[in-house]
């Protein structure tokens, strides 16, 4: 019963966010994110129809659509990457290297598993696949957030909300799916509620932070950046010249 209530609340919140995005014209600013949300909303409505009209096929239908849900989640990560690092070309370059590196590692692992793994059954396959997809998303998110923190990239309320909301949901997904794949854990009712509760929390965060358009703070003009950087570089060179005396001190000690 509680699960049903959660499900209805999710559908209602998704509809609210989508309607508000059209009203406030925010959907154009974060198109990939709202495509993801629209897909998830339609999936939820389809699942409701299938559960009502054809309950016997609900379980396989759920896993097929859950794979879509996880796959479209990469659109959120692309949206974060696009908006967070478009003003920081250096950090964006490092992020691209990191993203390609993770993708290459995933492809290698999948290929290795396909070549060397035992015969797998459908029941465990979809859950394990979703778990692995979410884990890769968690790694990508952690990398992007680390870059944002390290380079002190300025972000607006919208982007912060998208990042924190989706991170909370992915964190809950990875933990619950990892434990859920253990024998004996999958049948416990409590574990089945972790993902819906986390997703509802993410939706509520997005409802608040995406209420209106709030862009990332603008950076200075290019000429001012160049001037500030030269000033900082000159000051740093002077600081390094003084600090170069540490070389002698280190040798003496």
């Amino acid at each position: 019963m509680f699960g049903q209530i959660l499900w209805w609340m999710e559908i209602a919140t998704e509809a609210f966010i989508l309607v508000r995005s059209i009203d406030a014209r925010v959907y154009r600013k974060y198109l990939a994110f709202y495509i993801y949300l629209t897909v998830v909303f339609l999936i939820d409505l389809l699942r409701l129809c299938v559960l009502t009209l054809r309950p016997s096929v609900y379980t396989p239908f759920y896993w097929y659509t859950e794979f879509l849900h996880a796959g479209f989640g990469y659109a959120v990560i692309l949206e974060i990457y696009k908006h967070a690092l478009n003003k920081s070309p250096g950090a964006a370059r490092i992020a691209r290297t990191f993203l390609w590196g993770v993708l290459a590692a995933v492809i290698l692992k999948v290929t290795w598993n396909a070549v060397s793994g035992p015969v797998w059954s459908p029941g465990t396959t979809w859950a394990a696949l979703e778990r692995d997809l979410r884990t890769v998303q968690a790694i990508l998110l952690a990398g992007i957030i680390a870059l944002l923190a390290y380079y002190v990239v300025a972000t607006g309320r919208n982007l912060k909300g998208i990042i924190f909301g989706y991170s909370a949901y992915i964190y809950a997904c990875v933990v619950s799916l990892a434990f859920g794949s253990l024998p004996g854990y999958g049948l416990r009712p409590g574990w089945r509620l972790v993902q819906p509760i986390a997703y509802l929390a993410a939706l509520l965060i997005w409802s608040y932070t995406l209420w209106s358009y709030s862009p990332n703070p603008a950076t200075e003009t290019e000429s001012k950046i160049e001037r500030d950087y030269k000033l900082i570089a000159e000051k740093t060179r002077r600081a390094l010249a003084r600090a170069s005396s540490f070389l002698k001190l280190g040798g003496e000690l």
């Binding site: 950090a91 998110l141 952690a142 002190v152 200075e220 600081a239 600090a243 001190l249 000690l253």
Partner: protein, 178 residues
């Protein structure tokens, strides 16, 4: 349960990184950090010692050799106590200066397209090593006093010199491009 470790590790990484970023968002008031450097002063006969000279003086054994031979043990304890406070203060100041330097670096190079990943990683690792050494030294000096930690201070200062050397190379390359 061991098959859970990679997944729990990744989720913990995401949680920690998100928490650190959230903390930074609450604490940071400025998006760009300027490196505040004291104005250069002309040397005079009674000028204040530089940061390096202070470090040499604090950890030098000449004063301790004199105190340990010529004064009662109560005065020796007072000397060690005062010198411990000075040493910890100097290390904290070194840590702050290196942190300011690093923050200025990331604020500046974030706008540059041609970042070198290897250099950035090297700087980040060296920075973490310096921070760790400074914190360990502070704890060690607090526990054992400055006299016994002289050798560890030498290692810290050599690591700081390596960090600054790597940073100088990066700045030289960046300034050549600008």
């Amino acid at each position: 349960m061991s098959q859970l470790l990679p997944y729990l590790g990744v989720s913990l990484l995401l949680l920690v990184v998100s928490a650190l970023w959230a903390r930074q968002l609450f604490i940071t008031r400025k998006t760009r950090i300027e490196l505040i450097v004291p104005q250069k002063r002309e040397p005079t006969s009674g000028s204040t010692a530089s940061h390096r000279d202070l470090g040499e003086r604090i950890f030098d054994l000449v004063d301790w050799d004199f105190v340990s031979r010529n004064v009662p043990s109560e005065i020796q304890q007072m000397f060690l106590g005062e010198r411990t406070i000075l040493a910890i203060s100097w290390l904290r100041r070194t840590r702050t200066r290196v942190s300011l330097l690093m923050r200025a670096h990331v604020a500046a190079v974030g706008q540059i397209a041609d970042l070198h990943l290897a250099t950035e990683l090297k700087l980040a690792v060296n920075y973490l090593v310096v921070l760790t050494l400074c914190n360990l030294l502070i704890a060690w000096i607090w526990a054992r006093g400055p006299v016994r930690t002289r050798k560890m201070v030498g290692k810290t200062l050599r690591t700081v010199a390596r960090l600054r050397g790597a940073f100088e190379q990066l700045m030289a390359r960046v300034s050549a491009e600008t």
